[in-house]
C-alpha cells in the first residue's frame, strides 16, 4: 500500500490543481486518507516537576468530550474541571458533551484531528477494539506510575482497584480508564419485602421458594428483567455460571475457547434461569424495556429484577420515597459451588481514554489524575450515585440507600468478584448472546440449542481474521 507509484493523496492534489478542489477535498474527509506516510504533530509537553509530574504544557489548551448519558456532564463541568483548573489555571479546557460519540468523533479520528480526552460511552460509542488496533489509544502507563493527586508518596496505581488496570489493558498496554465501578445483583424494595415478611434468599431453593410464595400471594409478580435488552438476564446467567464453576468459565468464554458455552456450569445456570423465565416472570416481560420493567418495580408490580448499581440513579424520578432500594447477590446454586455466597459481578466501567494522536495528550492524562483524586471520585459518587474505582473514595460521603447497599455487598464479597469482557471485545458475540438468551427465556430455545448457537458465533469470530482478538489470563 505504501509503495504505490501514485497515492490517492497525490491524485487529490493534482485534482485540486486542475480546479476540482471541492470534490477532492470532500472525498478526502469522507473516507480514509490513502497511502503515504502521516506524521502526527509533535505532542505538547512541559517540564516535569512535583506539581506537574506528567509534564504537561501549562499553557496549551485541550479538549474534553463527555458522553451525555445517564451520568450527564455536570460531574465533568462542576467537579473535575474546577479541580484541574485549580492546579493548572493557564491550561484552557474546551468542554463539550454529546449523545453521539461515534458520529461526532469518528471523522475526527479518521482525519487525524482527535480531541485529547474522550468519554467513549453509550450505545453509540466507538469500538475500543478498532481504536486499539489503530493505535489511537494513548499509553497510560505513565499515569499509573505518577504520584497520586492527593498523596505524592503514593502512586496512582495503588489508589485504584487492580481490576480497573486489567480491564483497561489492551495488548499489554494500559490505555483505557474505566472510572465508575458497577456492581450487579438482584434488586428489591426493602419496604415491599418488609411489609410482606419476605426474606432475602441465600440458596437457589430459597430463591425459587420465595418466587413461589410471591406468586401465590398475588401481591405482585416475582421476577422480571429488561426483556427488550436480554443483556440484563444473560449477565445474571453468566455470573451464576461463574459462581457454580469458578472464574475459569468466564475466562474461557472471553478467550473464545472451544465449547466454552457448552460447559456444564453454563448449562446449569442457563437451565435455572430458563425455568425461572417459564414460571415466575412478570407478564409481558419479553416485550418491555429496562425503563418499563424498572418502573413496574417502582409501582410494586414486581418484586425483583437484576440490574447494575446505576439503577437507583436511573429511577430517581419514579421511585417512591419509602421504596428503599437494596440488592442481594445471586443465591448459591448448590453446596458444591466453586465460589462462596456473596460472589458478585462487579467491574469497572464507563470508559475514558486519551487520544494518542491528539495535540496535547499529556493534559488529558493529567485530567485523569485529577479525576482519580479522592475529592474528584467522592464527589462524583455523590452526584451520580455510582461508586468509582478509587479505593475508599465513597467513605464518609452521603450515599443513597441503594448505593449504600451495593457498596456493602461489594465489601462483603471481598476478592470474590467476577466479570466478563467479551461484551466490549466482540460486540457481535454480545448481540448474538442477547438474541439467543431472549429466546431462551421465552422458552423458544432449549438450553442445548442456545449453547450451540452462541458457540457457533464464538467460533465464527475466532476464525474471522478481520476482528482483532484479545485474551485474558
Amino acid at each position: 500500500m505504501a509503495d504505490k507509484s501514485i497515492s490517492r493523496r497525490e491524485l487529490l492534489r493534482s485534482a485540486a490543481v486542475t480546479g476540482l478542489l471541492l470534490p477532492g477535498a470532500l472525498a478526502a474527509c469522507a473516507s480514509p486518507g490513502g497511502g503515504g506516510s502521516r506524521t502526527p504533530a509533535a505532542a505538547a509537553t512541559g517540564a516535569t516537576s512535583a506539581a506537574n509530574p506528567l509534564g504537561i504544557a501549562e499553557t496549551s489548551p485541550f479538549e474534553v468530550v463527555i458522553f451525555d448519558g445517564g451520568f450527564g456532564d455536570a460531574y465533568a463541568r462542576n467537579i473535575h474541571q474546577p479541580l484541574f483548573a485549580a492546579r493548572h489555571p493557564s491550561a484552557q479546557i474546551k468542554h463539550s458533551a454529546t449523545k453521539e460519540i461515534a458520529k461526532t468523533l469518528q471523522p475526527r479520528f479518521a482525519g487525524g484531528n482527535p480531541p485529547e480526552f474522550v468519554n467513549n460511552s453509550g450505545d453509540n460509542a466507538m469500538d475500543f477494539g478498532a481504536l486499539a488496533q489503530d493505535g489511537q489509544l494513548q499509553d497510560l502507563g505513565a499515569l499509573l506510575d505518577a504520584p497520586s493527586w492527593d498523596d505524592p508518596a503514593m502512586k496512582v496505581r495503588d489508589t485504584i482497584l487492580p481490576s480497573a488496570v486489567e480491564l483497561g489493558t489492551y495488548d499489554g498496554t494500559y490505555c483505557v480508564l474505566n472510572y465508575a465501578n458497577t456492581v450487579w445483583g438482584i434488586w428489591y424494595s426493602t419496604k415491599l419485602f418488609g411489609d410482606n415478611g419476605w426474606q432475602v434468599p441465600k440458596t437457589w431453593d430459597e430463591f425459587t421458594a420465595l418466587c413461589e410464595t410471591i406468586q401465590k400471594s398475588g401481591t405482585c409478580a416475582p421476577f422480571t428483567y429488561a426483556g427488550k435488552h436480554p443483556f440484563y438476564i444473560y449477565e445474571t446467567i453468566l455470573t451464576l455460571a461463574a459462581k457454580i464453576g469458578g472464574v475459569e468459565v468466564l475466562k474461557n468464554i472471553d478467550n473464545l475457547a472451544p465449547d466454552a458455552w457448552k460447559a456444564e456450569p453454563v448449562a446449569k445456570a442457563a437451565e435455572a434461569f430458563a425455568e425461572l423465565g417459564a414460571k415466575y416472570l412478570l407478564r409481558g416481560t419479553e416485550g418491555l424495556d429496562h425503563i418499563q420493567t424498572q418502573t413496574a418495580h417502582n409501582k410494586y408490580q414486581v418484586a425483583m429484577l437484576p440490574c447494575g448499581s446505576w439503577l437507583e440513579n436511573e429511577q430517581k424520578d419514579t421511585t417512591p420515597a419509602d421504596f428503599g432500594y437494596a440488592m442481594f447477590p445471586l443465591p448459591s446454586f448448590s453446596e458444591s459451588d466453586a465460589l462462596p455466597y456473596g460472589t458478585l459481578h462487579s467491574r469497572p466501567g464507563e470508559e475514558f481514554f486519551v487520544a494518542a494522536r491528539s495535540a496535547n495528550p499529556r493534559a488529558g492524562m493529567e485530567y485523569m489524575r485529577a479525576m482519580l483524586s479522592k475529592e474528584g471520585a467522592g464527589k462524583f459518587s455523590e452526584l451520580v450515585s455510582t461508586l468509582t474505582i478509587v479505593k475508599g473514595a465513597a467513605d464518609g460521603r452521603t450515599l443513597k440507600p441503594g448505593l449504600r447497599s451495593a457498596a456493602g455487598r461489594l465489601k462483603e464479597a471481598g476478592e470474590n468478584v467476577t466479570y466478563f469482557r467479551f461484551r466490549q471485545w466482540y460486540k457481535e458475540l454480545h448481540d448474538e448472546v442477547a438474541a439467543a438468551t431472549g429466546q431462551l427465556m421465552a422458552g423458544r430455545l432449549k438450553v442445548a440449542q442456545w449453547a450451540e448457537r452462541v458457540q457457533r458465533k464464538s467460533d465464527e469470530i475466532k476464525n474471522d481474521t478481520s476482528v482483532k482478538k484479545f485474551t485474558r489470563a
Binding site: M1, P32, G35, A110, D127, G284, L288, K427, Q439, S466
Partner: protein, 313 residues
C-alpha cells in the same frame, strides 16, 4: 415583445444564450450529484474490498473476502429475505388498500359518481400518517404494541381475559407488525395520489357504464383500474424502492434493532449495525454494494414490466 423594426438583441445570440442557460442550471446540480451521490458510491465499492474499521487512515486491501464472508452470513440473508417479502407484500397491501379507499372516496357514494359521505374529512385523516416523522411513528407504535395493560391493542385483549399478543416480542409476529406499520404509514399518500388520478377520469365513462348495467365492482375493475394503471405503476415502483430501503421503523421500533432474534431485520439495518456498531466498514460496504445491485435490478425489472401502452381517453 419587440416593435418589429429590429430583431431584439438576444435573438442574435440564441444558441449561446441557450447553452449558457442550460449549463448555468445544470452545472451546480450535476456537480453536487457527482460529489454527493456518485463519488460516495464509487468509494463504497473500493471500501468494500478493504478491512477498514473506521478510524485508521490506511485500510488493508482484502479483495473479495468480504463478499465471500457475506455468502455465509445467515443474518444478512435473513435480512435479504425480509426485504424480498416486503418488496412483494408492502406494495401489494398498500396499493390494494389505497385503491379501495380512493375508490370509496371518489365513487363510493350512493349513485357511484361521488364519494361516500364525509369523503373530504377522510381524505385529510388518511393523510395524517404521512406528516408524522418516521421516528415518531415508530415510538408511537411501540406504545400501541406494548405487551402489557398499557398497550393500545393488548389492553382490550387482556380485559377480555385473553393472553396478550407479543406484537414486537414474538419472533413469529414481529415481522407482520412491522409490515402493518409500513402499510399504515404509506396508504395515506397513495389514497391522495389515486384520488387525484380518479378525479381526472371523465364522469360520463362511469355514467355510460352504469347505464349499461355495470355493478360497482365491474365499474372498478373495468373502468377505474385500467384508466389508473399508470399511476398504480408509479406507486408500485416507489413502494418497491421504499421496501428495499426500510430502516428507521425497524431500527427504532424493534428490540435488539431488528429483533427479537433477527426476526425483523432488513438489509439497511445490517449495514448500519456492521458499520456503526461493529465498526466493520469494509464488510458493511460490501453489503451496501449488494443492496445497490438489488436496487438496480429491481429498477430495471420494474421499468421493463411496466412498459405498457397508455389507455387514451
Amino acid at each position: 415583445m419587440s416593435n418589429g423594426t429590429k430583431p431584439p438583441f438576444f435573438m442574435n445570440r440564441t444558441a449561446f444564450t441557450r447553452a449558457r442557460f442550460i449549463i448555468g442550471f445544470l452545472a451546480v446540480p450535476v456537480l453536487l450529484y457527482l460529489v454527493y451521490v456518485i463519488s460516495p458510491y464509487a468509494q463504497a465499492f473500493s471500501i468494500a474490498m478493504t478491512d477498514w474499521r473506521g478510524v485508521n487512515a490506511e485500510p488493508g486491501f482484502v479483495g473479495a473476502a468480504n463478499f465471500r464472508r457475506l455468502l455465509d452470513d445467515n443474518v444478512f440473508w435473513t435480512a435479504v429475505r425480509h426485504n424480498g417479502l416486503l418488496l412483494v407484500l408492502m406494495p401489494l397491501g398498500t396499493l390494494v388498500i389505497a385503491l379501495f379507499f380512493a375508490f370509496l372516496l371518489n365513487a363510493g357514494g350512493p349513485r357511484g359518481v361521488s364519494g361516500v359521505r364525509g369523503a373530504r374529512f377522510y381524505r385529510v385523516v388518511f393523510f395524517f400518517p404521512q406528516v408524522l416523522a418516521v421516528a415518531i411513528v415508530a415510538v408511537l407504535f411501540q406504545q400501541v404494541f406494548r405487551p402489557d395493560e398499557s398497550g393500545m391493542l393488548n389492553a382490550p385483549l387482556m380485559a377480555l381475559g385473553l393472553e396478550p399478543v407479543g406484537f414486537l416480542s414474538d419472533p413469529g409476529v414481529a415481522f407482520w407488525s412491522i409490515l402493518g406499520v409500513l402499510i399504515w404509514q404509506a396508504v395515506g399518500f397513495y389514497v391522495v395520489l389515486f384520488s387525484a388520478g380518479m378525479a381526472s377520469i371523465p364522469r360520463d365513462l362511469y355514467e355510460a357504464a352504469q347505464i349499461d348495467g355495470a355493478t360497482r365492482g365491474r365499474l372498478f375493475f373495468r373502468v377505474t383500474l385500467p384508466l389508473l394503471w399508470d399511476t398504480v405503476q408509479v406507486g408500485w415502483i416507489y413502494l418497491g424502492i421504499a421496501a428495499l430501503d426500510v430502516f428507521a421503523i425497524v431500527w427504532v421500533m424493534t428490540a435488539e434493532h431488528g429483533g427479537p432474534d433477527h426476526s425483523t431485520t432488513v438489509m439497511a439495518a445490517e449495514i448500519y449495525r456492521n458499520a456503526f456498531q461493529y465498526f466493520k466498514f469494509g464488510y458493511a460496504s460490501a453489503m451496501g454494494v449488494v443492496l445497490f445491485f438489488f436496487t438496480v435490478a429491481f429498477a430495471v425489472v420494474a421499468l421493463r414490466l411496466s412498459r405498457r401502452e397508455r389507455v387514451e381517453f
